[in-house]
Symmetry: C2
Subunit: 517 residues, 2 copies
């Protein structure tokens, strides 16, 4: 079914190393020229990709996305197929074998997106719309451009996964097409591995990786195309990620909602109980008070400390942008704070507020708590610590809604639902192939490139570094203000253009040049 | 347009006083016999009434309800019309002038209902459905009975306002019809005054009352048909109510929701801030810690203390029913606790929990706080106290969502939205007409009748007692477990039947018999 990459011209890799670029165009130049000539088509193709609902639990939508991407890869000469585990979103897998290449790059992208609350979107989450700039910055909607029309790089495309994580697919396909049309071959074998349930916790990723170890074991380095660039809009290369897990806590009052007049001041108020419980978990400065929460954090190495010291100080600008006078951690920098585990109230619910508010004492109150992990933290143990803390506040913990008997046995009951999740991961910086990627990235990004020891966000990177045993780097392209995971997610067009430059450079990086770059 | 009540037979009131009941049926007996013969029709008429959406803000639905009720009253010989203030739900007003009557009763009911969250209802809020017993007690749905079919008094009718507060209309209409068919005349002039925005804070009630003072000033006593009976299912007569008010508090983090990985541990978390704030407002035992909250409570008189001492102790049974081991107030009785003002978290919201949860730091968190007031508390002053408390926790208070400049000026910002509300009210027990009503109520309720100094719930009773200057009593008929204000609101059929008995007795109570009953 799949076809082989058509090698029209074997390019001497030295021909487009920066020093030799002169008479001949470098592959980055060729990709850029292609993008300038075909911008409208590129946006149009991206729009089609974004128009497909892609929540992992929606198997019809997910399979439609997977088939679409597989077909697009095949069309571009990639030997692509869907890997399947029954009941799981498929992996879009593709191989691009390059004659003579001695190195294999694994490219990871995820094509599923976060669940949506459609009512909060300016347009539908799967109705891609173009704006002159960010909506909350006064952007106005405009039609997608026709072929040849000028494209402003400050435009933004709004849709679920515009940034996280279909953006890399929207940039990769044009690079492959540009190279194919120009007869340029990558300098490494490429293996594409696009996941379909990252936002649902990557539950089958390990099974997919271990079940396909034979195909994947010759990958020399995994390149993760996901996440946003630096808040200063400078390009970013990251060597690790925080892990993630979470729990949801529900506390109980009466078995049914009660009239707040007839019972108010006597019946327990779940919202009040939940507030009291949450208030014991963090101090005013955002420090987590759960016993043992910071005990397993692995200290940083010297190389990482050096990189940390060179990070641009963008905090004050970021605070202005976000409208924050005060941050957690008593003024510590964002970069420092991301090297610690976090505990975040990511959702609260108890009956209704606003127009739907009623004069009741609700029967329950629920808090969704997100936990981010750093190197050293075990997801299960961290949840155990939070549960132990809840018990210390006098709660009996249950896994299902309690029946009357249980309610009459314990004064305070909390239902705790544990989510999955995974640990943090970090790749060493001094491996030769890592240095090659850093140099290729600098070719697209220039001296603006920011090196970052570990991203605040999470990816199942540990499966690649620890389970598959390979180095793994993260090369994000999305704008930091892309409303990732929220309503009105968007991608700035300039960031899609950067993706094209970056992937052109990575796909054609010199096989090996040793030493520092 | 309206017609006069047709006085077919002038009944001697002494003829149906309990002592004289013998050969002749009392009006209560006649109403009961009518109900037994026409139960299916009564339920069917009630169902039609409940099928009309009746949220005060829905002016189309509200006007449809008002017109329906007015027409039903006219059909029964009441001189009924709609009183209007532009933009407000109308008052359904009706007069029943009885030749020779020397006393006028004002009957208050409200025909609007609490707003609904349809998704939480087993059936639609305005799709009246009949169940064998309470749904959460294992009740199963059944068809409404046909004429002549047996009706189990334990059946429940589910719909918004089934209990609060269309139940009295559902019971009044059959009484008027029974009396009309039997040729029985009430012993007092009756003035019907049915409000359409009680659940929206009765904003125009004062204007309606004062604007119609000429029609209403000859009312000798107001009878409030609203609220639930005692939790033991015993009938209830109440001499006062708590007042009500509320505020909604929103606290702010970043100007937009943030990725909980990229910013978690640095950006402030609104849900955490809100929890910390709420936790300062009440102690573990439910005592309000807001300074001055209990300072203006008027102490009880001796007569009220006596009635309090005679109240049935139903707390333990109620706790079993509600699944509560622990209550607020360290074991103090419900009746005692209702004589204090309360502060209740009636709703919480911050982004989503459950299936829609996302890995974000939400931009805001909101708590809806309900405040119940007792005699002595001023609604505005009580909200001032809560606001002062919020300021003491370091918050700058705003009335609209803050802009960037405001956010960059204050470390902690809370938007406080104050709702209206009204004070508590109480009627003296030793007035002769009050004693007459007590005796008439006993005729329907028997010795089970519970006298209660003040209801926990709220009605705008102060407008009648303080502004209009008349005694006002509350005579509830709904079951206490009617899910009033919540989803799956319902009325137990036995309670509708009690309403018919009660209204038959009240409408025909002897003009004056002096002394104790």
């Amino acid at each position: 079914m799949a076809r082989r990459w058509l090698v029209v011209t074997a390019i001497c890799t030295a021909a487009f190393s920066p020093s030799a670029a002169g008479a001949r165009q470098s592959p980055v130049d060729i990709a850029r020229a292609y993008r300038e000539a075909h911008g409208a088509e590129i946006l149009d193709e991206f729009r089609s990709l974004l128009a497909m609902p892609n929540v992992a639990s929606d198997s019809v939508g997910i399979n439609e996305n997977a088939a679409y991407i597989r077909d697009a890869l095949i069309e571009l000469g990639v030997d692509a197929e869907l890997l399947r585990i029954p009941g799981a979103p498929p992996i879009v897998y593709g191989e691009l074998a390059v004659p003579g290449a001695t190195r294999t790059l694994g490219i990871y992208v995820h094509y599923d997106g976060q669940p949506v609350d459609s009512s909060r979107w300016s347009n539908g989450p799967w109705t891609p719309t173009l704006y002159t700039r960010a909506i909350d910055d006064g952007g106005t909607q405009l039609a997608f451009p026709k072929a040849g029309e000028r494209i402003d790089p400050e435009w933004r495309i709004y849709a679920r996964s515009a940034g996280d994580d279909k953006a890399p697919i929207g940039a990769l396909l044009p690079v492959l097409r540009a190279f194919r049309e120009a007869g340029i071959s990558p300098t490494s074998n490429i293996k594409f591995f696009f996941e379909g349930e990252e936002e649902a916790g990557s539950r089958r990723l390990r099974q997919y990786l271990e079940g396909n170890r034979a195909r994947l074991d010759d990958i020399d380095i995994w390149l993760f195309f996901d996440g946003p660039v630096h808040q200063s809009r400078r390009p970013l290369l990251t060597f690790g990620v925080r892990g993630v897990t979470g729990i949801e806590v529900t506390v109980y009052g009466s078995m049914r909602p009660l009239h707040s007049g007839h019972y108010g001041n006597w019946a327990p108020v779940p919202g009040q109980m939940l507030a009291a419980l949450l208030a014991t978990m963090k101090d005013e400065d955002g420090n987590v008070l759960v016993e043992g929460f910071y005990d397993t954090v692995e200290p940083l190495g010297e190389l990482e400390r050096a990189v940390l010291r060179e990070l641009p100080d963008y905090d004050e600008e970021l605070k202005r942008e976000l409208g924050l006078l005060r941050t957690e951690g008593g003024g510590a920098s964002l970069a420092e704070r991301l090297l610690l585990p976090s505990l975040t109230v990511r959702g609260l619910a108890s009956a209704n507020v606003g127009a739907l508010v009623r004069n009741i004492i609700p029967a329950t109150a629920t808090a969704a708590l997100g936990i981010r992990l750093v190197k050293g933290n075990d997801p299960e143990q961290m949840k155990d610590l939070v549960e132990a803390h809840i018990r210390r506040q006098g709660y009996h913990i249950v896994r299902e809604d309690p029946d009357r008997e249980t309610r009459l046995r314990y004064p305070k009951i909390a239902k705790v639902t544990r989510s999955g999740g995974y640990p943090a991961a970090r790749t060493a910086m001094d491996v030769p192939i890592v240095q090659q990627v850093i140099r290729a990235t600098r070719r697209a990004a220039g001296e603006d490139l920011v090196l970052f020891p570990a991203l605040g966000g999470s990816l199942p990177l540990y499966l690649f570094t620890d389970v598959m045993g390979k180095p793994a780097l993260i090369l994000p392209i999305a704008n930091h203000d892309d409303n990732q995971h929220a309503a009105d997610e968007n991608l700035r067009v300039a960031n899609l253009w950067y993706g094209i430059d970056l992937y052109a450079a990575l796909l054609t990086m010199p096989p090996d040049s040793g030493g520092g770059g």
